[in-house]
Amino acid sequence: MDLNVDVAWIVDHLDELAYRTFQHLLLASIAVGIGFVISFFLAVIAVRRRAAYAPILAFSDVLYTIPSLALFAVLISVTGITLLTVEIPLVMYTLVIFVRNIAAGFDSVPTDVIGAADGLGYTSSQRLWRVEVPLAVPLIIAGLRLAAVSTIGLVTVTSILGDSFGGLGFFILEGYRRSFPTELYFGAIPSILLAFLVDALLVRMERSITPWARSAAVAS
């Protein structure tokens, strides 16, 4: 492999980089968005009905053991090579991460706070949205970070399904197939940077929506 960087090629393909980056983020966002909504409801059920907690968690653990490549492979037989084939596995993997973290978030709300909230006269839906959810946010965002970052990684793998998918993984695969390291890195480095960027943004977001946690650190 020729390790020299082909700068001319890079400059030529910058618009493609933009396109693939956008595609990458789009594929990831769809999966994370849908996964989050489904997981949120599952987590509320898991916390409200303790009997459902173990089965829901066990189910999501089983999902986790299925390798991404294998899941895409199975889905090809069912849905061909379409957006669904890409998104269903991505969503399933986010479920694994989200359900556990959201449920843990709800569990982290101190019982005396719940008792006080009941005593004050919150209805159970008010208590959920105004007390439990805000206090579960740190763990929910921790889950969001993990899910977002791992989904960004998984999107690169979708490149094996064809040219119309893969996001930045497209360059990785092409670069490999043509033994062209410049293109290889053209895909690999931005995907890593993208993952870091999204992670950093989510950390920022968490800090800005939990001012009470910040002041605790300051006070101690």
Binding site: Y64, T65, P67, S68, A73
Partner: protein, 239 residues
Amino acid sequence: MGILADTLAWLTDPTHWSGPTGIPNRLVEHVGLSAASLLIALVIALPVGLYIGHTRRGVALAVNTANLWRALPSLAVIAIVLPITASIDPRAGFLVYPTVVAMVVLAVPPILVNAYTGIVGVDRDIVEAARGQGIDERRILTDVELPLSVPVLITGIRSAAVQVVATATLGAIFGFGGLGRFLVDGFAQYTLGGAAQMLGGVVLVAGLVIATDLSFAALQRALTPRALRLHSSVEGPLA
């Protein structure tokens, strides 16, 4: 359904069970690479995790680095390492090392974080009582903190092992063997009857992953001091 029958036929075909491209050999490749990666990750992550857990020093640095590594997409890591190691060793450096590196990067965070969390989770009173009796620091770590943090620690290693075995399939995209080979080759020849091979690979990989998970679960049960087993299950942040 026809495809399931085809898959079953593929799996039971004796020619697929012999030779360098046969199932056993691929299994050995896959398990070998996974085990090697896990071992390397253990050598890196375990001492660091135990150290920062025991001394509470360098925690922020180590945890932030672990989180950073967790964010790295494995495919990208393989891709980045490949040209570099290929120029060093054209054979193994092309086929094997990139995947190993990516798997090590994948396995280190859960092991490190859980090692740290496990040690930190040990009741401080117990540690101070031991220190007060005159037990030296190294013994405190090995005889007091380590046994008590085994559940959390093994959970981390188990999580790492499962992730590595599952993700090692990606190596096949870049020419490595292992069980991923069936997935990638089968997909490449999908319309020409490769579907059975692909799905056969799925079954094999899923089976291996489940077997790995169960093995480590058994190991966890075996290594947990009996007294701790009475407590409700302790899980680290990455389960």
